[in-house]
Structures are given as structure tokens and as C-alpha cells.
Amino acid sequence: MASKQITPTRMELTKTKRKLVTARRGHKLLKDKRDELMRQFLELVKENMALRQKVEAGILSANKNFVIAKAGMDEATLNTALMTPKQEVGLEVGEKNVMSVNIPVFETKTRTADANDIYSYGFAFTSSDLDGAVKSLADILPDMLKLAETEKACQLMAAEIEKTRRRVNALEHVTIPEAQATIKYITMKLDENERSSQIRLMKVKDMMLEEAHHYSERD
């Protein structure tokens, strides 16, 4: 497979051998990285799926509650009730390094001390359905945040796994075989050169002896 132009010299041979060693080591390391990433990814993605199903079901039922609440009171009252939120959620974003992939860690801070302090209205003019609806939405908020964290981590890790897999394959199927072929080509060429110079020397020796002693004329 010596498609490239290689000069068959000892220096080139040493260089290629060194390259092969590096490629083999890199291949092993990257393969380990891929396997470990894959293990962690599979764990995470299962969690992601479970969370997503939970959150989607939660939002669906919360939406139903809101529709019922909306039906029970006029729109103006509802809008007024929800106009000024009492609670505020801040987000602290940290980073965690998993096998050289940076994945986010979200931490939330609520403005008021009590996270359940969510009712931004007096209870006089609103229906009790609205309280239930708001509560049901508040209940799934922690899961939604967890979902955001795991889903983002899954996306980032998936991209990294794909990259690593490509590198592993490139080393395994291109770089390493190419180096091996080059090494074989150079060794054979060098051996051939050595044989050829040996023969040449023998031939020259024969000719010189012939010159000195005239063997062929004697028999």
C-alpha cells in the first residue's frame, strides 16, 4: 500500500516505526476513552428518557389543569392574577468534566426563601382550580431542571463519542495499516539493496581474480 512516495532509507524506517508506536498507543487510549464514555452515556441517556417521560406527562396534566382553571373564570381575572409573578428563579451554571467532556451542572436559586411561595394572587377572585394548576406546574419544575441538565449532557457526550469513534476508526483502519505497509516496504527494499550490493561485490571479486590468475584460460 505504498501509494505515497517513500524514500527507502534507514532514517525513514526509524521515523515510521516511531509513528507506528505512537499510533498504537493513541489508538488504545482513545478506545478506552470511547468505551468509558459510552458506558456513562448509556446510563445518562436512560435517566434522560425516564425524566423526559415524567416531565412530558407532568406538563400535559398541568396544561389540562390550566385549561380547566381558565374555563372557570374570565380571562381578565386570570391575566391579572398571573401578571406579577412573586417568585423568581435564578440559575447557577457550573461545569463538570466527564472524560474531557464539559457537561453543565445547573443549580437554581429562588428569590424568596420558600420555594412553594408561588401564588402571585389573592385567593378572593380566582378559582381553586388555578391553585391546583399552578401547584402541579411547580411540582414538575425540579424535574424539568434535571431534564435540562441531563439532556444537554447527553447531547454533548453523544457528539464527543461520535468524534472519538471516528478517530479510533481512522487510526485502526488507516494510520496503523499504512505505517505497517511502509515499514514492510522499506525493510524489503533495504534487504534487496543489500543483496544486490553483495552480489555486485562478489562479481567484482570474481572479475579481479580472473584478471590476476587467468582461471578460465587454464581449463
Binding site: 436512560k46 428518557m49 423526559r52 435564578g90 440559575l91 451554571v93 439532556e151 447527553c154 447531547q155
Partner: protein
């Protein structure tokens, strides 16, 4: 300090305002795309977006896929679950493994 945004049609998202998330009701695609770009660069760590809207903004969302923030997460809207969120999870399995080996039987 980052904030959390919710993007979608008004009926799907107005409830989130009570929880202290910032809601941004949008109705057209162009408006949503512009809003998304503004939110992404404006200190929002998580952006929840309704599945219906996300389907129209695939290209814009793809840009943020490889960044740590913002995390753009699809949620079902008032019209019901389109399954796009689940499909997203399956897709990331497909990218990583090559084929969906975990959830394909479901």
C-alpha cells in the same frame, strides 16, 4: 447568574410565569427565531421551547447543540405531545452508538 426562559405560544406557557421563569410568548416563526437568538446571547442558561415551535426552528437550535449554555429543551405545548422530545433523545443515542439500540423496541 443565569436565568431561565420559556418560549412558545401564549396559551402553552403562561403558567410558567408564576414559577418565576421568564416567559416570552411569540406567534410567528421570524419573531421566534429573533427572540431565540437574543435569549441565547442574553444570559439565559436554559430555554424551554414548545415542540411545535422547535420543529420550525430546527436550524437555529442546532447551532447551540454543541455549546454548554444555553440548553434548549423541548416541552410539549397545549396542543399536545408531538413526540419530538423523545425523538431528540433517540437521536442522540443514534449519534453516539450508530443505531438506536435502547429504545427502538418501544
Amino acid at each position: 447568574m443565569y436565568k431561565i426562559a420559556v418560549l412558545g405560544d401564549y396559551d402553552s406557557i403562561y403558567g410558567f410565569a408564576t414559577l418565576g421563569l421568564d416567559t416570552f410568548p411569540v406567534s410567528t416563526r421570524e419573531e421566534a427565531a429573533e427572540k431565540l437568538a437574543r435569549l441565547a446571547s442574553g444570559g439565559y442558561g436554559i430555554i424551554y421551547i414548545t415542540e411545535a415551535l422547535a420543529a420550525e426552528l430546527k436550524h437555529e437550535i442546532g447551532k447551540y447543540q454543541e455549546q454548554i449554555t444555553p440548553a434548549i429543551i423541548q416541552i410539549p405545548g397545549i396542543a399536545g405531545n408531538t413526540g419530538a422530545g423523545i425523538a431528540g433523545v433517540k437521536k442522540s443515542v443514534e449519534v453516539a452508538v450508530g443505531s438506536d439500540i435502547l429504545f427502538s423496541q418501544e
